[in-house]
Symmetry: D2
């Protein structure tokens, strides 16, 4: 395995990814939160207000949604990106959103962090294109990919020039079905040993159930990750996608406090 | 699960995919063979001669290679496609080759069957683009995707208008490591029950070892698949990729005879 | 991995396991059939008559049933063994039945082949006890065990003196849920390369669905296995366990013919 | 799934398992530590002194070792149990050790907690025998068993009368090989939702590498488990089994402090 750019030999210290005035990595920790999909102006603004009040600086929201079936809700697409851009202007929150193909990249000008979803982790043409732009990339681990493969996909991006890569664990496929996927938190010490890149954790997609998210967020934080990606919805029961795993504002506020308690004690 | 187009309700009889004068499905069986990668004019012509003499009508050869590491051989790319087109003219063999992204599609004019590799099975932008062209698509199962997900990816292609989809099993990821992947032949009766689409099997990528390929090719045939995808190299020891799983011409000739014996007896 | 007794170095030729006048291995092939559980005298005798007429020489039937939940039917236990012994006397069929613990071994005097179930593949105390008796052992692969671990469990038995071990593939656990387990037929060429021991295949437990069993039985035969283990019930709808995967007599008769067709053609 | 005894319907509050003056569950947290195998009197006494000084109250040590190969070190067996009993007398530490079969149970009179290993989680004869004794049982999850199966195995024990069951997560088998197994910490909130039984976590067997153990121990604690099982060796380099995953005394002392920091902050 050749980790020319992602390995500790390339950079001894932890990489710090800067997005405007916010940082991830090297001791800087961010909770990124928001709905699975942008559904309407009211929805995204209402959620953003809650998040901002809580202390969140980066909003996640899907506009282009990779769905197993072509008959499922595919996201608001261009309109979703437009709503995210407007939300950014009104709230000053930074924005993360997922890109599904090279040809949509021009639409992502106002997006601050571009997400590569689990299904595209080895879409090498997309990775190379993202390596030639100047924005942080949030690279999610494929649900059947090893840590080594994740690092080599990051290598594809870095090799083209873009060194702002944030890794993300979101659960892998196993025989266990009490949770949607199996969250593999051991990846955190493995990545910290091999690489200088920051790694964040998405317990919402991993568990698939709101009542398990907080425990896994706290566990991930205690294991030493550099941030979290949490699905929050103003009204989870009516969400157009992934409502079962979304936290309502109150649950999210509790999670936020508990995660910060863990952060405070491990930094003592 | 909505199988509008891929399901038996859409078409009661097995679909027959026609490529020139050759057919796959509905009782028509094809062994597709060739090297993992096109390496040179000499190589591809030498292999093609062997295959043609054996009775093969469809040649496989990779020009764009999806590799885990950016430092591994990435294929001859445009030159590879050019060599395949020339081989087609000289030998009249039909050609299968893998496309990795939408932007390379214009290069595939002379290619008869376009392959979607395991890593791109849920690259929905690519699937939709392939749904709008008029060529058979060989859709490989992702190495961590269920049968239902495979069918839904085929649904993405068919929904755009292209109904010429050939499914391909090539092994899934499991804990077992005596073989490269675990060949899941049960997918054959499952697909035959749910769908009218033909399904072929790639025992070369699945086992990762030449000495296991023939047994698995025979098993797949007995289970009722519609064809095979076999890696053959004129000189496996020197192959630039996947040499360990490639058959030499003599081994391939034996496999061809044994598979045809099975075919003859199950059709009695 | 130390394969002192199970490896090809210990014995170059295939082992032939003899049970009375019947053999398994080294070209001798047996279809073992019968119900998941012995339920009553009528049931076991009715099924036995069907099997005998078809040409079957070895009857399977569970008396001690390892069930995930203590509230599920646990088998007729001692009464089940007694019914199997009586069936043996009346029909001259040889009998396979599963043992769950050392302390029940004395009950198995009349049983011809003792089965170790998937859940006990690494119950080393049981393996060692079976190594000290003089009967063939049918050792089923654990549903999460590698081929190497299966061979090493056989090694535990052989090392104590009993060299009559028959291996059995019955599906492994994966993320795929269209079938109950994923039948791993690649184990056949792997075992044939590494070991002299015979290997049979159980497509009933692997697929969990009657309509998939015949295709997988034919595939296993074509891959070179030494026999099959098939669940047959006189009335699958009313079976006390595993009815969904049991064949009725007519389906079994078809499977028997098709498997023999495959056998005939690969031996030509 | 019938969780008559293990479910929250049977007991609303968390069960507290008492072992002498020590408790596990219902807010009581224990770090159980010690070597994989008892190797000699010097070794076990030296490790025990370290643990006692650190504040540990329960010592783990293997006497009967379930090993994949019969040619690997099988433990000191009866001598190992004898050394553990002597250590108990000299140090007042409580003792956990693994039983492999029913017939060895009489040897475990002086052992305070009897461990069922991952390979025996569905050895139902053993579970039933342990249900008829009056000692706490530490039931490890099988490496390919679901949470539901683990609870149903606990049900086998409780149904016979012994309600002192402690569950233990120790990693499951997946395709990932950067760690020995994949530690599935999501089991903690799942078990807390479904059952009143305490659950502890073994990050040593799960990760298989000493440098990953502390991060996973902290993560498990933050997720809300009731205790930890940690391999500690006075000289990991020379350990007869599992040396690579054993902590030396200094590393263990650090882990102990860090886990207690997490405990203190989540209980605030």
């Amino acid at each position: 395995m050749n980790l020319n750019k992602t390995g500790r030999n390339y950079r001894r210290e932890d990489s710090v990814i800067r997005i405007g005035e916010v940082s991830i990595g090297g001791g800087e920790f961010q909770i990124i939160a928001g709905p699975c999909s942008v559904e309407s102006e009211e929805q995204i603004l209402e959620i953003s207000d809650v998040l901002k009040t809580t202390g969140i600086k980066i909003l996640r929201g899907g506009a282009f949604k990779p769905r197993t079936s072509p008959y499922d809700f595919q996201g608001l697409k261009n309109d979703g990106i437009r709503l995210l851009s407007e939300t950014k202007k009104q709230t000053n929150l930074l924005i993360v959103s997922e890109v599904m193909g090279i040809n949509e990249l021009p639409l992502f000008d106002e997006i601050d962090i571009i997400q590569v979803g689990a299904r595209n982790m080895q879409n090498f043409e997309l990775l190379k294109a993202l390596g030639r732009i100047n924005k942080p990339i949030l690279l999610k681990r494929g649900y059947a990919n090893t840590v080594y493969e994740l690092l080599q996909s990051a290598e594809y991006i870095m090799l083209e020039g873009n060194e702002n890569v944030i890794l993300c664990e979101r659960g892998i496929r196993t025989f266990e079905n009490a949770t949607r996927n199996t969250l593999d938190l051991s990846i955190i010490p493995v990545v910290k040993e091999l690489s200088h890149l920051p790694i964040i954790v998405d317990p919402s997609h991993a568990t698939g159930k709101a009542s398990y998210v907080a425990a896994m967020a706290m566990a991930a934080t205690a294991a030493g990750c550099d941030g979290l990606l949490i699905e929050v919805h103003n009204n989870p029961e009516t969400a157009l996608s992934d409502g079962k795993q979304s936290l309502n504002p109150e649950e999210f506020s509790d999670l936020y406090k508990n995660v910060n308690k863990i952060r405070a004690c491990i930094n003592k």
